[in-house]
Symmetry: C2
DNA sequence: TATTATAGAAGTTTCGAAACTTATTGCAAC
DNA sequence: GTTGCAATAAGTTTCGAAACTTCTATAATA
């Protein structure tokens, strides 16, 4: 039923929840020489947050679904308190609603909400990308190329295969967009961007379930954005990015209501 | 020690946390005929969230302070689970950090963080105000005038009195700014604005503790913003607002580091 | 039939104790 | 002295049971 579960928890390291910055790691092994930057063994509670969010994004729980503790404790094998803690954070992030005495529900979706999220996301990502292009170093550039390639591997597959590995596509798609803006120095901008990204991701899934989008167009768009970015052509990159996001959202919007 | 606590919970209706909207007050009497539209009883946990946030904003807990459960349970008279739940939400809002195994701390402050928060807040509030001016009705206008007056009552006091009632000033200042943007239809914009507003509020307190700001200048600025707004002069109102916020932040910035 | 009252079920909220992790202290060996 | 290690203390994290609230179904009443 669930797809690529193990990957997920590790990758949800973006920083939507983090406060300070990107240090969220956990220790476990006293010192492990290699250590990328954030290698983290998160307390089971932090894991849960990522898992729950992923399950909402993936529409494992449909919008407006009641989130009963009896179900959740069984599904995740964790206690009520731990679950409440994670759900509370998702309330702040806008994925879950809480009505006193009546418990938690998955937040509703609507065409209007999608429109708002889209516009905010575009504004954030454009600025973050422009700043990133201005500040990025070689390593930043390299990671963009790498994550683009990783994403391309899946996008070049046949339709059936692509559907089968959709969970992987989602992860790599997120990584690609994160790589683009990674050199932006504005912490809050990255945080807000991340917030909106996850919101949009839920809508992206919704569209995937209804119909399949324009086939290989996306791959081409991603390539164009990547190329303009590593060429440091901020104006072009930003324009391409905006069109990319807006068109995707508009096609999703048609499937709503 | 705490000032105007009862007011607080009622006024924290902005919508930083909530999904739904603006319902937050307390219940007690079984049914009270009046009932505006959304009268909702908040579970003690929701209260706690507002109280904790207020205490962080007010620097009752200084930045980087460790938030020990032994202290908190005593101070608020609530169980550990309930506290964790509220703290988790504050992590999402950026007021608190969580390091696995080492517990919660009040998020740090810095000149750079202030600069980021300020710019984002300005961008949000400007757009929200412009939209609000375009869409606001008579009732909206009236509430602005009312909340300006309420705020002015405190701003016109002597220095000593103003300091004594600073807690009230904070509440009314928030209400005034909320009234300005109340007619904006973009839910997410209001939410993001609210997020940044509370962040800035913490810095405002910090400045209050160090030195007293320019005396009556603020009152004049608020009046000018109010007048331009009710005159539906969006361009002017937005420009005044921007200057008002930026100057305040800049003066605070000087007291940091 | 429609309405209200009541009992029971279902579900949520809160709490504190048990398990676990991190920090501190004391003590010995070098 | 200081380094290493163990023992203890302090603190965090997790869990499930008890208290409480909301919902549902049934019965009583007009």
């Amino acid at each position: 039923m669930q797809e690529s579960e193990t990957l997920h928890t590790r990758q949800a390291h973006s920083d939507i929840r983090g406060s300070g910055s990107l240090n969220i790691h956990l220790k476990k092994s006293p010192r492990n020489a290699e250590s990328r930057d954030d290698d983290a063994s998160l307390s089971s509670g932090q894991d849960l947050l990522a898992r729950l969010r992923a399950d909402i994004v993936k529409h494992t729980f449909a919008p407006e679904t009641k989130l009963k503790f009896s179900d959740l404790t069984e599904r995740y094998g964790l206690g009520i308190g731990t679950l409440r803690e994670a759900l509370s954070q998702l309330v702040s992030e806008g994925f879950v609603t809480l009505e006193s005495g009546k418990g938690f529900r998955v937040a509703p979706v609507s065409r209007r909400d999608l429109a708002e999220v889209t516009e905010h996301y575009i504004a954030f990502e454009k600025r973050a990308l422009a700043q990133s292009i201005a500040a990025g170093d070689d390593e930043w550039e390299t990671r963009i190329v790498a994550s683009f390639h990783s994403l391309g591997i899946i996008e070049d597959l046949s339709w059936a295969e692509r559907m089968r590995r959709h969970g992987d596509w989602v992860d790599r798609h997120r990584q690609f967009h994160e790589a683009l803006v990674a050199a932006c120095a504005d912490r809050w901008l990255l945080r807000l961007r991340s917030l909106m990204f996850y919101q949009l991701e839920r809508y992206r899934f919704l569209s995937k379930m209804n119909r399949e989008k324009s086939p290989t167009r996306k791959g081409t768009e991603h390539r164009a954005i990547m190329e303009a970015t590593v060429a440091r052509d901020a104006t072009k990159a930003v324009a391409l990015l905006e069109r990319h996001i807006r068109e995707t959202s508009e096609s999703i919007s048609g499937t709503l209501d």
